[in-house]
């Protein structure tokens, strides 16, 4: 891959939800995830990665090098995809073990493997690829308030239920919540392992900013990315501890005793007092 990234990055993404369920908990009958100890809402790393994958799949459909390995939904469409371009692969060398080339091949062809890594192992151990991008659990700024909304449908599914006239259903929503998630990008893993390059990085930022715009559904309500703050280190190894950078972004509730119900109920304070060798970039 051409020009893998040369800098370490950290990022803070703020996103909010209005009257929706950002991430259901399969253990709790799909209620929004909550940290039982503090009452704060949680959005898992894999939930956000799914949205990034779906976004890339949408904007880069059919483009070589931007395939998505872990797909959701119709796999049938893939039958029509053109055969892999075998020209890009060097002839088999006897010295290299085939697994390394297989790994390279996967990184080259799949955006999500290049970005997040993947496990490729069978009887021939092909090992794992650790991707440069690492995301942690998103957490809400304040404890969340989960609400169950009962809805009705004026039709029934089964014939024997015809007398009922209507069926009841449930929706789980949060009236409002602002979430914060943090992530890390390792230039070393990009360089030495997966070839995650500058174009991929731009695409990744783009996906964080826009992924909610294409993920609307009855369950989600109104979700939007509100802020994306990127810390770019001057070097591959970085210039400062990540938690110090994350501490530069402070979020304060300004709605007083009232529960927050909109993004304007929060003040976002981004300190410009950035350590040497780190550049603060506000992508959104």
């Amino acid at each position: 891959m051409s020009n893998p990234i040369k800098n370490r990055y950290e990022f803070v993404l703020l996103f909010d939800v209005e009257n929706g369920n950002p991430n259901g908990d399969p253990d709790m009958g799909n209620m929004p995830r909550v940290d039982p100890q503090t009452g704060h809402g949680i959005v898992t790393d894999v939930c956000l990665k799914r949205k990034v994958r779906d976004f890339i799949d949408m904007v880069k459909t059919g483009e070589p090098g931007y395939d998505i390995y872990v797909k959701s939904g119709a796999i049938l469409n893939l039958q029509n995809k053109k055969a892999y371009d075998s020209l890009g692969i060097e002839p088999k060398g006897k010295k290299d073990s085939p697994d390394v080339r297989a790994t390279e091949f996967m990184c080259k062809n799949f955006f999500d493997i290049r970005t997040f890594g993947a496990v490729m192992s069978t009887d021939v151990n092909c090992g794992q690829v650790r991707g440069p991008v690492q995301i942690n659990f998103g957490r809400s700024i304040d404890p969340i308030f989960q609400q169950e909304v009962t809805v009705t449908r004026l039709a029934v599914t089964k014939e024997e239920d015809i007398k009922k006239g209507q069926t009841m259903g449930k929706k789980q929503i949060l009236p409002y919540a602002l979430y914060r998630t943090e992530g890390y990008i390792s230039a070393n893993l990009a360089n030495k392992t997966t070839g995650f390059n500058e174009d991929d990085l731009e695409l990744f930022w783009d996906s964080l900013v826009n992924m909610f715009e294409h993920d609307h559904s009855a369950a989600r309500g109104k979700m939007s990315a509100r802020k994306l703050i990127v810390f770019k280190h001057a070097t591959e190894l970085g210039s400062c501890q990540a938690h110090k950078l994350f501490d530069l972004v402070k979020i304060n509730k300004n709605s007083g005793d009232l529960p927050p119900r909109s993004f304007s109920d929060y003040d976002i304070e981004i300190s410009q007092d950035v350590p040497d060798g780190v550049e603060l970039i506000e992508k959104l």
Binding site: D25, P26, D27, R33, D35, Q37, I42, T44, D45, V46, R50, D67, I68, Y69, V70, K71, S72, G73, I75, L78, Q79, A83, Y84, S86, I89, P98, R101, A102, F105, M106, N109, F110, A118, V119, M120, S121, T122, V124, C126, R130, P132, Q134, I135, N136, F137, R139, E182, Y184, S186, N188, L189, T235, L237, G238, S239, C240, Q241, A242, H243, K244
Partner: protein, 223 residues
Amino acid sequence: MGFGFRLKVWGDYACFTRPEMKVERVSYDVITPSAARGILEAIYWKPAISWKIDKIHILNQIKFDNIRRNEVLGTIPVSKIQKAMNGEEVELCQDANQDRAQRASLLLRDVCYCIEAHFEMTKKAGSDDTPEKHYNVALRRMRKGQCYHYPYLGCREFPAHFEYIEGDIPCSYYSGERDLGFMLWDLEFSEDPKVEAKPVFYRACMSDGIIDVEKCLCYGGLS
């Protein structure tokens, strides 16, 4: 042993999966020496050195939390990749809806450890690989917060913040003796890549919040 390191690591969540409970992951009570080694390697490692964990201080109370997630079951078969590389038409992606399982994980919450470690030189060390050099590079990185990739607490979604401890090690929540049972110590890798790595277990005993890994290993490692 002249060059010791003392690193504080902490995070909101951690999962040091017990090998006997992997399908629905259950974490050990505390970090394993193998995971601690992984953290150090994420910060600095060269083939010339090999990290050894001496002591683990458990600073916070041990607390658990349950999280259930949708996960993909399968892995990528190498044979399929090889076919695709040869230009054959095969499906290479996984369908997350078809190949999926809901799995719970029992995670640790609000962990904070102090890792005491040193490194030993390996056979791969060349003539200019002096312990002083590696010590200084590693120390510089720990002090500045530099790392090869961001370290994590068992799984990559649980990042490990780290800080070099210059002064005294903070006091632990725990006092007295506590037997944590048999825990994974580390994997012993063979020189021959065809031979699978062998897990080695040790009896972890916590005394005033400190696990003396070397001492516990002396009680007998099991593999």
